[in-house]
Symmetry: C3
């Protein structure tokens, strides 16, 4: 088992746990929680596969992803308070996950002959749209539309991957450097409290006066 | 017209009515209600077809499904109070519907050579994700994530279908027995007030203290 | 560049601006706003492409759509109040957009040999489901399920296109007449305050008494 494959599965597992925790907050039942865990873990890659036309979608062809998610469900239920104490570890694997998912999404799009811009978009979709689906199913405004440098880290990571592959550096190194960059950006963002500026602040009080056309 | 095809269309019709009733509660206009009826009726099978790569999706190739939905719209409008009095009949056909949709979804996934686990998942998706889409479009938390043994009945039905087909029993009988089992589970669940346990109950009051990582 | 292609891109641009304005009202950050702009502009056509099985989806193969959306983002930020003053111009291009999107969606569905009814549905999906996705992602009940003759204008436009092409009139004229008809319907609807009747009004106060079965 290659390191990349192992980290991919680890990312899937951590995403599933994060989905379970979100479902518990909404007091979903076991079925609902399992759906949310599943969607958080593989939703981004599924949307990417649908858009680029790679069907049946990826997780249908490699049951290890399902096994990771299926084991995240009871593990979260049994060790919930312990897991919540592991915030830094979770943060780390979550960040490795989005870094890797960005790269893998980007590569499978390029492999179809689509343009680098589209590949970059599909990389970001792979990394963050599982979370968007999770929030939509939980009837929340998607978190990443409002908070933190999450998607930005993926965009910068994807750009760095595209540039570094052109330098001729070996791919394992490119992936390693890209994931390190994504981790660095997120740690910096959390540490400094960085986030993208919100739109529409200044005239929020005008919102009744006819913003629609 | 085979019995299975007839019951499939009946299920579609009953799902469309249930969508219309949900839309009326949200005071959608006629277009919105028709969309909700449509999505409730064929949304699950559509998601399955997209995921397994069977496009154009099923209802595009057999207009009888559209005719069932299109006739459910005026019928619900004209006979709304009468239909609401038919709760047991509706419950019965709705349950036959989810049982059949599970089996049909499962079969079309197996036919593509995908694994039984994935086929079982696609069976459940076919049966319940129309309702999930309905709730998402109506800006509600999906009902099946919180209530009743609905999805569980589909999962058990799907498992029973997979097991019974291995026994060599004729397929019509397998389908009949599976649908009977799904009906029995749902009647039992409603009668005994069964539902899956909700997650996160005990520490619901802690929810501000940092469940996110 | 043909006139139709130019108007298609203009429609995409105007849809993206309308998405940006909606995102600003919800105070999304720049990433969230760009996603909403993108989804509003090409979401309808993307859903159509997925359903009829034309993948990779359309905007992946012609970067001009992405360029239109990418330029709508800073333009809306810089000239927001000016754009809000251009309501009539925006209304006009938005209406030309939905008229054209209806026709283009309809044509690409017919081209696959699917029936005119399905083609009409896909035309309407192309025109209005970008807005539905925008509202779902912003955690709102889709506007078009409740207000105005928006979707109705698309349906009538699509029907008129189907009928007029049978008369043997040159296609450019058919498209021109159809878009004019859509514009006329919307102007009439806004002017007269027309909308489809909402369902369930009369017994709204009964909604607790058991509409579900």
């Amino acid at each position: 088992m290659s390191l990349i494959y192992f980290l991919d599965l680890t990312g899937t597992f951590v995403f599933a746990i994060s989905g379970m925790l979100a479902a518990a907050e909404k007091r979903f039942d076991l079925f609902g929680a399992a759906v949310i865990a599943f969607v958080t873990a593989v939703g981004g890659g599924t949307i990417r596969d649908l858009l680029i036309g790679k069907t049946p979608v990826g997780w249908m062809k490699d049951l290890n992803y399902l096994i990771c998610i299926a084991s995240a469900v009871p593990i979260t239920l049994l060790f919930k308070s312990y897991i919540q104490g592991l915030r830094r570890t979770m943060f780390l694997f979550d960040t490795i996950g989005i870094g890797l998912f960005t790269i893998l999404g980007l590569k499978s799009t390029l492999a179809l002959g689509l343009s680098p811009v589209v590949a970059l978009m599909m990389g970001v979709v792979s990394a963050v749209f599982g979370g968007v689906l999770r929030d939509v199913l939980a009837n929340e405004v998607p978190l990443i539309f409002r908070k933190e440098i999450y998607a930005t880290a993926c965009i910068i990571g994807g750009l760095s991957y595209l540039l570094l592959t052109k330098t001729g550096i070996e791919e394992d190194w490119v992936i390693f450097l890209t994931v390190m960059l994504v981790i660095a950006i997120r740690i910096l963002a959390v540490w400094k409290g960085l986030s993208l500026p919100a739109l529409g602040k200044k005239d929020a009080y005008k919102s009744d006066s006819g913003n629609k056309f």
